[in-house]
Amino acid sequence: MTMIFGIPIQALLGQLLVGLINGSFYAMLSLGLAVIFGLLRIINFAHGALYMLGAFIGYLLLVHLGIGYWPALVLVPLVVGTFGIAVERLALSRLYRLDPLYGLLFTFGLALVIEGVFRYYYGVSGNPYAVPALLAGGTNLGFMFLPNYRGWVVVASLIVCIGTWLLIEKTRLGSYLRAATENPELVQAFGVNVPLLLTLTYGLGAALAGLAGILAAPVYQVSPLMGSDLIIVVFAVVVVGGMGSILGAIVTGYMLGVAEGLTKVFYPEASNLVVFVIMAVVLLLRPAGLFGRDA
């Protein structure tokens, strides 16, 4: 068996894949956080809850209505996005003129309510969600065995991340968005409907979280707690990457996922600490974050 640093290469590649999967979700979620923060100046604590909501809606569609994975991949982001739009219209839009801390506190409360409701009805145990038939099984790559669905998650998350990046950097809508991030009053004066832009942005961020949720459903167990465990790690990712750049959020997400996976091979006890340790080191050396512009 081939060995690297005294570790069998299969184990190394296996954990690397797990790291890449986790990194995919870190990237998708921190991307959504960065998009929302860029325009709304709100840290969306409910992002983890929206991710959980996405996974759960997918699960409920399957169990109660028999709607499978592929239609759910379209339906779930629509439902979660609509929910996000409702939340923005009813509540968040009233908080823009206040200290951004209130946005954090409101979305924290929202996250508690969403999580509490699902915990009340479904308990804390996880519910399995079967891998769609098309992606069942795995492929032998010669040097390792790759479960097809996991490969799909990595590809899908790359498509989502690059797609969102292109939307923001290369389209007219994206240019409005970037302009409104820099100077909302001026953009409003040019006749762009900024409040609508804010609503759509939050909806888009929520839809991204929901999409990540349904992608995650077959990988992890669908459980009410799946979001809150993840969101705090994603916050650390966001601190490391800095929220100034979309690309930065994506790259940092994958990097930290892989770092976590590798730690699992070499020093398993520290695997759930490593992201936080990296955050502390980055704060010491580069307080603004790896890609950050503002401190």
Partner: protein, 326 residues
């Protein structure tokens, strides 16, 4: 009457009212254990001190820490361990817990103040979560079980804290000392500088204050007092568990402060009392506590940002103003 004389008269009246209210509150607390279940009031007092310590940071320095559970629960662990493993007397164990929380505050604060605003909150949350994972794995915390069966012991080798009333008045003493410390800090020249940082950080910098050091000092003091509350709670309930280091606990202390009134002296204590009472009621009703907590959070942020005490204070100020205009 001249404007100045009127102002002095009003200030004196408000001081008299304040003193009367404080005296009333202390008398109520002395009488409380004879009317209400004492353990319940002790729990309220521990959380009230925790919330006052937290408010020192949020209300008077303008820093929202999302990781105060690390100090509260960490101190509880240190204190419980010192009593159980080393047989320390309660007062020494509580001091150790407080000192431990202060040291943790120094490290976490040093890292967190390198960023501002929303990032500060996220960093404190992440570091506290790191401490949580550490507590899950470290052998001395005894994992999911926590440190159980911590003896209350004898205070200074004399007073038996196993007697509920002795324990109660000890907790009341700790609470009053802690709150007095917060009051003293807030109303000192140091506290004035903290408030100026809250109002306008850049201006404080341009006036020549090394803002970072003041923030760090406030962070450490707040952490130490939160630790005092947590260590005392460990002695009262005779255990220290993971519950006190979770992010939910950090959220709970924010809720207490927000509900009672951010930046008011009495608000956090009032909020803590209400939240503890509410949780006690809900525990028997079957309605999930998280939903109630989340709803109160949302309502407070949307329409009740001044909190209960803040709202009363604002109303009182408006009336006083209207009175002076006539």
């Amino acid at each position: 009457m001249s404007e100045a004389a009127l102002h002095r008269q009003r200030a004196a009246a408000s001081l008299r009212l304040e003193r009367a209210l404080i005296a009333l509150a202390i008398m109520t607390l002395i009488a409380a254990p004879f009317v209400v279940y004492p353990i319940f009031v002790m729990k309220m007092l521990c959380f009230a001190l925790f919330a006052c310590a937290f408010n020192l940071l949020l209300g008077y320095t303008g820093l929202l820490s999302f990781g105060h559970a690390a100090f509260f629960g960490g101190a509880a662990y240190f204190c419980a361990y010192a009593v159980k493993a080393w047989g320390w007397p309660p007062e020494a164990a509580i001091l150790l817990g407080t000192a431990g929380a202060a040291c943790m505050g120094l490290v976490m604060g040093f890292l967190a103040i390198r960023r501002q605003g929303i990032y500060f909150s996220m960093i404190t949350l992440a570091l506290a979560q790191m401490f949580y994972f550490f507590c899950v794995q470290a052998p001395f915390t005894e994992g999911e079980d926590g440190i159980q069966g911590v003896a209350r012991g004898h205070l200074f080798g004399v007073v038996d804290l196993g007697v509920t009333m002795n324990m109660y008045f000890f907790v009341l003493g700790v609470f009053l000392i802690g709150v007095f410390a917060v009051w003293r800090i807030v109303n000192s020249p140091f506290g004035m500088i903290l408030r100026s940082i809250r109002e306008n950080e850049n201006r404080a910098i341009s006036l020549g204050y090394s803002v970072g050091r003041y923030k760090l000092a406030a962070f450490v003091m707040s952490a130490a007092l939160a630790g005092l509350a947590g260590a005392t709670k460990a002695i009262v309930f005779q255990f220290a568990t993971l519950t006190d280091v979770t992010w939910q606990m950090s959220g709970e202390v924010i809720l207490m402060t927000l509900l009672g009134g951010i930046g008011t002296m009495a608000g956090p204590a009032v909020g803590a009392g209400l939240v503890v009472a509410l949780e006690n009621t809900l525990a028997t009703s079957g309605f999930p506590v998280t939903i109630a907590t989340g709803l109160i959070f949302m309502v407070c942020v949307l329409i009740f940002r001044r909190g209960i005490v803040g709202e009363i204070y604002a109303k009182w100020l408006r009336r006083a103003e209207a009175g002076s205009n006539n």
